[in-house]
Amino acid sequence: MTRRLDDVAVGQELPELRRVVNRDDVKAYADAGGDQNPLHQSDEFARGVGFDGVIAHGMFTMGHMAACVVAWAGDAAAVSAISAQFRATVSMGQEIVAGGRVRAIDAETRTATLELWVSSEREGETEWPIKRGEATVHLT
């Protein structure tokens, strides 16, 4: 069910959504999304262009962020805009955490603007595979 305007407040946080990224899921994503760049499938290719091994598609990470938004919104159809800036790569075996909060509410148009991010801990440092993510969600 789509989230109700009455149940939303500025500053409200979205429940975090975690997943560990693995090769099978990234391959399944490549087939469904259509991006067959070998950078996301071949370690040899990835090393040849300066990475330690295969990295996830930016759109894999953004798809995960969108899943966090849809879970909160209650309906994929409620999301009328979504954007992301990719700031760090994601390797196989790495855990990514999508999160966000309500930045603004427009009661007139019954929409909420969300700020979103995807973080990840790597070697004791926090990285940001996605920063400055944003979405617009319709409320009932």
């Binding site: 469904a32 262009v49 598609h57 953004m62 798809g63 849809v70 159809a77 805009a81 800036q85």
Partner: protein, 131 residues
Amino acid sequence: MRAVNPEAEGRVYPDVKFVVEPDRVAAFRAVFGQADGVPPTFLTAAEFAVLPPIIGDPALDLDFTKVLHGGQEYELVRPLREGESLTVRPRIESVRVRAGTGFVVIAMDLFDAAGEPVARTRSTMIERGAS
């Protein structure tokens, strides 16, 4: 030192048909654990129906082995409907080169069978410099 060609800014490419295939939507949903609907980022599948010839366009001169996805924006006038056929109209919105790094923004407008706008996508590709 070579870099992407700024003169490619404004180039338009032929319209391409894209069908929102239910099986493919289901596969996409499965990757992200979604129960129903068309995930908003499924628009990437429409972009990839068109992107390879743009990325490979000699007039743009992008070095694919150095390309990273810098950012992505989607705007939906309405949700995509499973089974519908869309027209995808791509163009190069901007090309910038800063300190040897290229920034290419590829925008696409999607229309339904009635010619009504459905969505707009904007994808920023970064071509890492030779350093």
